[in-house]
Amino acid sequence: MNNVSPAPAALFRKKRLKPYRGRGEIYSWLRAHHREIAARLASGEASWTTLCGEMVRHGLTGRRGESPAPKAAPKVWQRVCRDLEEVTAAALPKQRKPPSKVSRDWRPQLALPAPQSSPGPTDLDKPYDPLERIAEIRREVKARSGQKE
């Protein structure tokens, strides 16, 4: 029996792309799908050839109308990653002074709990946890009923 395996389905769903000043469609697309692309590249599930094929399927072209190319796309990707790092870094608390710059009179405060507002990984970065999902909905349901936890 010679089973014909189906051709792979499209890798990424079409999304409405957000324009970025001075950047083209390929940048917007890579940024819109950043999380999935990073995961697929890391797992070896996607290569730049397949990603460019996907971009073509989504009707993307470069700023001069050229087709996405496996050689050029990684450079745009690096730019996307760099920009996203900057966005994340901007949200982080400012760096502390190096020890050499700290006053001699400085004494540590009593141990305090870590600030709750410091940006850690978002919920979407964590692996999916079915029980936590139920807990999340329970919290939402209680909040919608005006109940405290």
Binding site: R57, R144, S145, Q147
Partner: protein, 271 residues
């Protein structure tokens, strides 16, 4: 020797688009048709084609929202399709024809068979629907809608435990929009959320999603405004745009819907 189960011409096209089949399961009166309507509007707003399949001949919600023909009898692209009668053979023939078109056209479908789980179970068994979808590159999702009724919940559990409805992508939608007047959200859903069977099916892979109530939904329907029409600033039948409060409520509701689906990691399951 070509003994392939899948016809070659149906799978050879590597350029084909992603096709989703969203099947609403569970009992009626749980807001499933509205959920499917939202999925259709969302997909179209985002530029994807979806065709509604309305097997709920009693309420005909999708058929009235997405008529197949205009006032002059001209066909409307991607209008809803429905079976000739609610007799089992007619429904099965209609499903077969629609699934054939779905494979050929590569256009996603949403399927509403309100209370028609028995039909679907039989059909799923006859066709081996999940295998059919896999072979033809279609991604099926079963969405079970729940209101506050524990009978509906028990029915859903039975359904999800049956072998016919086993689907890798199963959502359980807890729909706040259908809870009874005077009942709190917690009073409605806590018995379900705390039920060991609920935890078991969620552990087994079903993804729970909480769908908030949109208090102005009836107003939007009366005015003939879609959820995404409001976002896009489209006028209603009388030519009036949604007021700022209506716009804000709808926008907040859609944003919450998106966040909730992302948290449940099911946003990619929608057509």
């Amino acid at each position: 020797m070509d003994g392939s189960i899948v016809p070659e011409d149906s799978v050879a096209d590597g350029e084909r688009a992603k096709v989703d089949l969203l099947i609403r399961a569970g009992r009626g009166r749980t807001g499933g048709s509205t959920g499917l309507d939202l999925a259709v509007q969302r997909a179209r707003y985002q530029g994807r084609r979806v065709k509604p399949l309305d097997g709920d001949l009693r309420s005909r919600t999708l058929s009235s929202l997405y008529p197949a023909k205009d006032d002059e009898g001209r066909p409307i692209p991607d209008g809803a399709s429905s079976p000739a009668t609610d007799e089992l053979p007619d429904i099965k023939a209609w499903l077969s024809a629609e699934f054939d078109s779905m494979v050929e056209e590569r256009v996603s479908r949403v399927l509403d068979l309100s209370g028609g789980d028995r039909v679907m179970q039989e059909y799923v068994r006859d066709l081996a629907l999940m295998n059919f979808c896999r072979d033809f590159g279609i991604d099926p999702t079963v969405a079970v809608f729940l209101g506050p009724d524990m009978e509906d919940f028990r029915h859903a559990i039975q359904l999800l435990r049956s072998s016919e409805f086993r689907c890798d992508r199963t959502m359980i939608v807890l729909n706040e929009g259908v809870i009874r007047h005077g009942q709190t959200t917690s009073g409605a859903f806590e018995p379900i959320l705390g039920h060991p069977d609920f935890e078991a099916i969620v552990r087994d892979g079903a993804r729970p999603v909480f769908l908030r109530r949109l208090t102005c939904m009836a107003t939007l329907r009366e005015r003939g405004l879609g959820f995404y029409d409001v976002l896009a600033g489209k006028p209603d039948k009388a030519g009036a745009k949604a007021s700022p409060t209506l716009f804000h409520m709808t926008k907040t509701w859609i944003e919450t819907f998106e966040r909730e689906h992302e948290k449940a990691r099911v946003d990619q399951w929608l057509p």
